[in-house]
């Protein structure tokens, strides 16, 4: 799987390259600023890009903007955005075209290597990987609303994991219950939130996120 990396701190950039190469990713280019990122993304059209939000030359949200720009040119280009802090505002912008293939994680999450690699693969496959912090923020904002209050604690747990972008199988493994039980929970959740049911994992995740983001 071909990856483009954008990270301006050499230490972290090398770490990411080493980590991804250890899991059989092919790092086709690693850049350290916004303009080169945009160029690298459009030139290589990688299977997935791992991008730091804050990059030179402005040290603002250069990376995020370059990623969004590239996705305008190459719709659905899978991008996993990493940052020292997560903002719902940015999550919204990333998810706005609702075509999937988007990840948005705190940099800390890289330390859980297997989870991180799983997230990269999921995004590359057109799925979603949202940081638990983002999901928590989304839920806080809607906490007072009827449909969310109607969920049981277990259903809420499943909803959170689903919003993070996990498949039924992954949620089942995480909560130590059967996949069948999970799909019962998801059906209940979709019923209570009044969302159209779907068998496809990715589409289901997007539906949940769109609901929470509204």
């Amino acid at each position: 799987m071909r990856v483009v990396i954008a990270e301006d701190l050499a230490l972290l950039r090398d770490g990411l390259i080493r980590l991804l190469e250890a899991f059989q990713f092919e790092v086709v280019e690693a850049v350290d600023n916004g303009p080169s990122l945009l160029r690298a993304l459009t030139a290589h059209r990688p299977d997935v890009a791992v991008v730091d939000v804050r990059l030179p030359p402005t040290f603002t949200d250069e990376g995020l903007r370059a990623a969004l720009e590239a996705r305008k040119e190459i719709p659905g280009l899978p991008v996993l955005v990493l940052s020292q802090h997560v903002e719902q505002l940015y999550a919204r912008e990333l998810l706005s075209d609702s075509s999937g293939g988007i990840g948005y994680l705190l940099k800390d999450r890289v330390s859980d290597v297997s989870q991180f690699v799983d997230a990269v693969r999921r995004v590359a496959a057109g799925g979603t990987a949202l940081d638990p912090d983002v999901v928590a923020q989304l839920l806080t904002r809607r906490a007072r609303e009827e449909p969310l209050q109607a969920l049981t604690p277990r259903e809420r747990e499943v909803l959170e994991l689903m919003a993070e972008g996990r498949s039924n199988a992954a949620i089942a493994a995480k909560l130590f219950i059967t996949e069948k039980a999970i799909s019962k929970h998801t059906n209940n959740i979709f019923g209570k939130l009044n969302l159209p049911p779907s068998e496809d994992d990715n589409r289901r995740v997007l539906a949940v996120i769109t609901y929470l983001n509204a």
Partner: protein, 434 residues
């Protein structure tokens, strides 16, 4: 004339004179068309306070007068290089009570000086405004017209009246004196305009008493700001010392121990490493919260616009956000504005019981205006909460003001103003990385 910079109007002698002549005439027109009517209106409205109408009439009249005076201040700087600082006390838009607003206006000595100026400027503005143009025009007349018309019509110029009675002496005299008037008048024109600016400064700039009061105000807000920032630094030091720093120490101890155990007890080593990773995660979370409290990254990246939108998104109730900013204020002002909005929104979420809230941020009249409202239960008292008091202090450091209207039963509307200029819209480079 200590405030004189270099002659502001470029070009040669004649073009400088021409510009000053035109400007002088503009001043004359303004003195009669705006100054005099406003003077009369303010006197009349003041008298009408007795019958009540004046209470509503006077404030807009006085504000119009301020606008005129501000125009004079701007021109004095632009045309003559004479800086006239605005003397007015900070004026939070009076919301609700018209008497309080009027009392505030009338209690400001600058208001009375404005009124006095609008009267005195009629004769002074007329004289100093006409002089630059009149001297030269009259001089030219003496030089060119007098010799031709002298013998033909019943005509005189200057002291030679009529020219017929003076004969050749009259014609020669008017040519010489006219030329002299032109020679003196051309360079004098801009200076007369400057004299008018100096006259304006004598009435439109802050009085000594006002300056002294201002110094007191600044001293007070400065020491409050210094105290607050020292306390803030102590808090940050303590947070770092007891939080992230301590965790990093524990972390490196765990890693060192794991290194030792690797050979004999790999399982224990693995447990320690897992613990270490967890500790590093906690340390990072603490650092993140700390950074957010010092200068939120989203503010650095997106400015006030993005910062306020991010705040609104984090609230557990729907918030309508309207932001119209053509640029970014200075970083310290931006930060004060952000934290003020953050505190107010936190209050809305915590205390108001509101179902909806709204924020309006825009820049007008040389100030950043932030208005936050909710449909909650009201009864918010800025004197009671330490949070609101802190915001007032933070805003005061930039001459900002805060007005809270929160009747029992709601709704609550908080209006905050921060005098500032906006820089052109560009992303400000900041150091550090993400």
């Amino acid at each position: 004339m200590i405030d004189h910079d270099e002659g502001p109007a470029p070009g040669g002698l004649i073009s400088r004179w021409f510009v000053s002549g035109v400007r002088g005439l503009v001043q004359v027109v303004l003195a009669f068309a705006a100054g005099l009517p406003l003077f009369i209106l303010s006197v009349v409205s003041f008298a009408l306070i007795l019958v009540g109408v004046g209470v509503f009439l006077l404030p807009p009249v006085l504000r119009a007068l301020r606008t005129l005076a501000d125009q004079q201040r701007a021109w004095a700087a632009e045309w003559s290089g004479v800086r006239i600082p605005a003397p007015y006390r900070p004026d939070p838009r009076p919301s609700g009570n018209p008497f309080r607003g009027l009392a505030r206006l009338l209690g400001d000595p600058a208001t009375w000086r404005d009124v006095l100026w609008s009267l005195l400027n009629v004769p002074v503005g007329l004289l100093l405004g006409l002089l630059p143009a009149a001297m030269v025009v009259y001089g030219v007349e003496g030089m060119l017209v007098a010799p031709w018309i002298g013998g033909v019509a019943d005509y005189g110029w200057g002291p030679f009246w009529t020219l017929d009675d003076w004969g050749f002496v009259g014609i020669a005299g008017s040519v010489v004196l006219g030329a002299l008037l032109v020679v003196i008048g051309l360079p004098l024109g801009p200076r007369i305009l400057n004299a008018h600016a100096l006259f304006n400064r004598s009435l439109l700039s802050p009085t000594r008493a006002a300056l002294e009061r201002r110094v007191q105000e600044l001293t007070a807000t400065r020491s409050e700001t210094v105290d607050a920032s020292a306390a803030e630094l102590r808090r940050i030091e303590r947070d770092l010392h007891d939080g992230a720093q301590a965790r990093l120490v524990a972390l490196s101890m765990n890693i060192g121990l794991a290194e030792e155990l690797m050979k004999h007890d790999p399982e224990a080593a693995q447990r320690l490493l897992a613990e270490a990773r967890e500790a590093s995660g906690t340390a990072l979370t603490e650092l993140r919260d700390l950074v957010r409290g010092i200068h939120p990254p989203v503010l650095a990246e997106r400015g006030l616009d993005g910062g306020v939108r991010a705040l609104a998104l984090s609230l557990p109730l729907p918030v309508d956000v309207t932001i119209e900013l053509a640029g970014r204020p200075e970083a310290p002002v931006e930060s004060a504005a952000y934290f003020a909005v953050a505190e107010m929104l936190a209050n809305v979420a915590k205390h108001s019981g509101a179902q909806r809230a709204w924020i309006d941020v825009h820049h007008s009249g040389g100030a950043l205006k932030m208005i936050i409202g909710d449909d909650g239960t009201g009864g918010a008292d800025p004197a009671a909460g330490s949070g609101m008091r802190g915001i007032e202090r933070r805003l005061a450091a930039f001459d900002g003001t805060m007005v809270v209207t929160s009747p029992p039963g709601g709704p609550t509307v908080v209006t905050m103003e921060l005098p500032c200029a906006l820089s052109s819209p560009r992303t400000l480079p900041s150091s550090g990385t993400d």
